[in-house]
């Protein structure tokens, strides 16, 4: 028994003294390996009497289990220490910057365009398109501009050089030609908006030679100016994200609508910025009216059966009013600082669930 006690104390001391996993394994092999000291004792059991074997066997097995436990515990401790040491050596300075990633953005005019489309989509409007390079018929004649009438000159039209047959193509001065193309190609009821680029030979602080418009057209039976007013008021309240807007219709003249109006929206200019939906000032925002019978006729629609309204507004300007860009020309400058300052997140796509902006 004394031998076993001595052996136990000896082996456990060696386990405790093992400084690394390798040393511990050497201790394990020397004690409980095939030729280890404790394994050797177990081999002596065969030569013992049954009585002796009973007592000695239990004692030796107990010793072996105890040593095994000690080794397992020590091993876990050593492994933990080793991991700690490794992790300590792997420390990174996480104050260093992550790899450079460019931040993209959506242009505010296009964001505005998406908002306009989203609002009118909810009201059942489809999106129609037409070419930027137009002919005289679609841009003027079909829209009831008399030949050589002063109203044509007021449009500051960009022209291309005349062809051999005298025809002169032009850049559309408004999105209204899309009305004509739509009415010629589809039957009422019609409910569309037509966003796009428009062109006027004009370049100053408040005009760029290229700008964006969105046209609206509703043709059906029994559509009157009250529907026009509701549509525009509903649109403006949604667009400017206010409960209600107050609008004012002023009579105006456009060759392609009769009656025609310009619409002002009530706003507050007192703080240097324009707030829609409050205040006592008026801001001219768009032109509109009931589609002229001559336009309906030119597009093959019987004005005694169908009537409807049209409106057109400047998208760049709507965006400026809503988001406070001070200068129209900056919107076309592609200055990366401006784009980053006024641009929108890729994930800010306007929709009825999460809102417009």
């Amino acid at each position: 028994m004394t031998d076993l006690n001595t052996l136990e104390a000896d082996v456990l001391a060696q386990v405790a003294a093992a400084s690394d996993l390798q040393a511990l394994d050497a201790v394990r092999v020397a004690a409980v390996g095939k030729t280890g000291s404790i394994s050797g004792l177990l081999k002596t059991l065969g030569a013992m009497s049954p009585e002796e074997r009973k007592t000695q066997g239990a004692a030796i097995n107990a010793l072996r289990d105890k040593v095994q436990d000690a080794i397992t515990q020590k091993k876990a401790a050593l492994e933990a220490a080793e991991l700690d040491a490794r992790l300590a050596s792997e420390t990174l300075d996480l104050s260093l910057p992550a790899p450079y990633r460019r931040k993209g953005s959506v242009h505010p005019t296009m964001q505005t365009m998406d908002e306009v489309v989203a609002i009118f989509a909810e009201m059942g409007f489809a999106v129609a398109e037409g070419p930027d390079i137009e002919d005289d018929f679609h841009n003027f004649t079909a829209l009831n501009f008399p030949e050589k009438h002063p109203a044509r000159e007021m449009h500051d039209t960009f022209f291309f050089n005349p062809k051999e047959d005298g025809e002169r193509m032009l850049l559309r001065t408004h999105t209204s030609p899309v009305q004509v193309r739509t009415m010629v190609s589809q039957k009422p009821p019609i409910r569309i908006i037509a966003p796009g680029r428009t062109y006027r030979c004009d370049n100053d602080a408040t005009h760029t030679p290229v700008f964006h418009q969105v046209e609206g057209l509703v043709i059906d039976k029994g559509i009157h100016m009250g529907h026009l007013k509701w549509t525009l008021e509903t649109f403006l309240a949604r667009f400017f994200e206010t409960d209600a807007v107050t609008t004012q219709f002023r009579p105006h003249h456009f060759p392609f609508t009769e009656p025609s109006a310009e619409m002002d929206v009530q706003c507050d200019r007192s703080g240097g910025e324009i707030k829609i939906g409050q205040g006592t000032s008026w801001l001219e925002i768009l032109g509109c009216g009931m589609v002229h019978p001559n336009v309906l006729r030119a597009c093959g629609i019987d004005p005694d059966e169908y009537q409807g309204f049209a409106f057109g507004m400047g998208v760049d300007r709507l965006g400026m009013l809503k988001y406070g860009m001070p200068d129209l020309r900056d919107m076309w400058s592609s200055d990366v600082r401006w784009l980053s300052h006024y641009g929108f997140s890729a994930f800010a796509a306007p929709n009825p669930a999460s809102g417009l902006s």
């Binding site: 910057p97 993209g104 059942g124 999106v127 390079i133 007013k229 003249h253 919107m331 980053s340 796509a349």
Partner: protein, 799 residues
Amino acid sequence: MKFTLSWLKDHLETTATVPEIVAAMTMAGLEVEHVIDPATKLAPFTVCKIVEAARHPNADRLQVCQVDTVDGRKEIVCGAPNARPGLTTIYAPIGAYVPGLDVTLVEKPVRGVVSNGMLCSAAELEYASESDGIMELEGSLAVGTPAVDALGLEAVIDFEVTPNRPDWLGVAGIARDLAAAGVGTLKDLSIAPIAGTYPSPISVTVDGEACPAFAGRYIRGVKNGPSPKWLQDRLTAIGLRPINALVDVTNLISYDRARPLHVYDAHKLSGTQISTRLGRHGEHGDEHLIALDGKTYELTPEMCVIADANGERPIGLGGVMGGESTGCSEDTVDVFVESAWFEPIRIAQTGRTTGIASDAQYRFARTVDTGSLVPGIELATKLILELCGGEPSEVVYVGEVPAAPKGFAFDPDYVGQLSGLAVTPEKTHQILAALGFDVVLGSPWTVTPPTFRRDVEGKADLVEEVARIAGYGALPSTPLPEVPRAVGGILTAKQARARAARRALAAAGYAEAVTFSFTNRKTASLFGGGQDVLVLANPIASELDCMRPSLLPNLIEAAGRNARQGFADAALFEIGPTFHGDKPADQRTVVSAILAPKAPRGWDKAAQGDVFTVKADLLALLEELGAPVASLQTAQGSASSWWHPGRSARLQLGPKAVMAEFGEIHPAVLKALDVAGPVFGFEITLEAIPEPKKKSIKTKPAFSPSALMPLTRDFAFLVEKAKAAGDLVKAAAGADKALITAARVFDVYEGPGVPDGFKSVAIEVVVQPREATLTDAEIEALSAKVVAAAEKAGGKLRS
């Protein structure tokens, strides 16, 4: 168009103030641009009287005046020779802003004598353009009377006349609309005829093409001279310069009744006949006329010429401007007054050709009332007789004006049907009558527009008349009828793709730009454009004279501009039109992006981005847009000329179905655009992406993952350097379509161990067993297939 309240009150009985008039005009469709109120400008100026005037002790030309002013007796230094005791004039106190001098008065000595204010001339008050000395006013004016009252100045209303309403170019027309809108009562506008006492010694002939109708009258024995103060004041108030009584009368009627007139000095006429005809091409070019503005104009066969001397001598450009040779002067004794009618289109064109924008031209170009020829003559006669005396002849009237507008049927209920306004038939009748329309009640009504309202052609026009006078303020707000919403959204596939591309590229780190649709022709030709049909006839600037064939030049130039401002790193995109001809189908919607990688240096030495960055972004975008990415060929070396020939490719379904191009921009192109490289980019034509198949059922195919582990095998092939690795990969992947799910390049090597002119391409092939684990023999067989396929593609297994 400008007018004053007092002028308006000649025709309108009203107590309305200027702001009330302005509000009523706005709501009736007369858009007021601004109101110029001299009371504001001249507020500090008042009437004063000079009590004493003594010579300045230190200056011969100056006087030191003692002046009774609103502020008491003041000592004022004055340089005007007409400053004298007893003179009533205008006083400006210290601190007043003198508009004609653009100075604010400060108290300072003038040659040693302090001047406590200033005595003003008409020019200093901007009452006249030039003046000689200080103002000389009626002695009866009390000291302290405001200058505006002393001078009879009043507010001037300036408004925009839309082209459909030429009748608003006369104050009487404005009064008519305002009376209809309830601002006051219209006075009687009728003009009593004055009987002529002898036949006109001048006869008139018209050539209907040049001048459809002409009314004239001879008035003999007039005494011309400056017109009276009331007439001069009326004209100066709206910015016109008084000339002499005869001319001032015609200007007055032009602005009062929108009726231009002309007065010839009858003694300067050659012969006894005035004729109207088109301009003539003479043997030595076109005829000429020295007009009243002193300039010489060529008279083309498109213009209407007024001539005397049997039609030989041009004496006027009909409807535009009279000639210098027959103009009236202070000595004129006998006159011939013209009240004609000219074709608006001819007059508009003559105005454009000659550059003359006279009051007459402006009115005739917008259509003058065809009923105003004789009334115009009669009104002119009345005023000339009043101001200059004389004896009128009978009126000469030749030619024919266009027929008066015809009546048409009108159902008063249509007002409500089109406008949504509730207006009673009685009110509708009242409004139309007040605007000068003839209404015959019945079922339906018959409404005839007056001759000055040729813009009204049909029932919708009448609704506008009634609605604007009844007031748009009462328009109801009526919800649109509900319509069934389009299943699957309202956007077309192309519109939806443009929208998705915008969001995807912004998420990938590109900033969206919006640039003009123009470029200059030279740049356009660098990018495959610049065709004649796409060059503008009237560009806004020479560098914007051509429609863009690509979005790339504008984006590249934007990157250059940003770099010059110190922001060289640019990742930009634009989605917009490009132009390849002048037909609608020649316009395409293009998605373009550029990358000018100049990111700030990083500690991690991460790559800046290169042509493979844009390739990755392009492919990810195409996938997002639903393009058949797996079927796309990368056709290297066939991309357009503005790309680096060795670093660009087309992505196509076939040579005629090119979806996109990408690569590095050609250094020569960058040089031409003055932009430092490298710049990488891509351009997708949205129209080239096939429309997605419309599926009625949205369920996706069942998910059936294999239960067996995929395994990979690596191969290295030697291929000629110029061969595309992509072809080798495609061959390997296609060696067994059932088992091979992917083939990827994991190394490309040139150098020792690889023969000159060759490269080693290492490919990892992913094999997905389908029914059972593959045996070694099966794997061997598959490997052999891969090697054989690669060999066909020019690759030799590296041993």
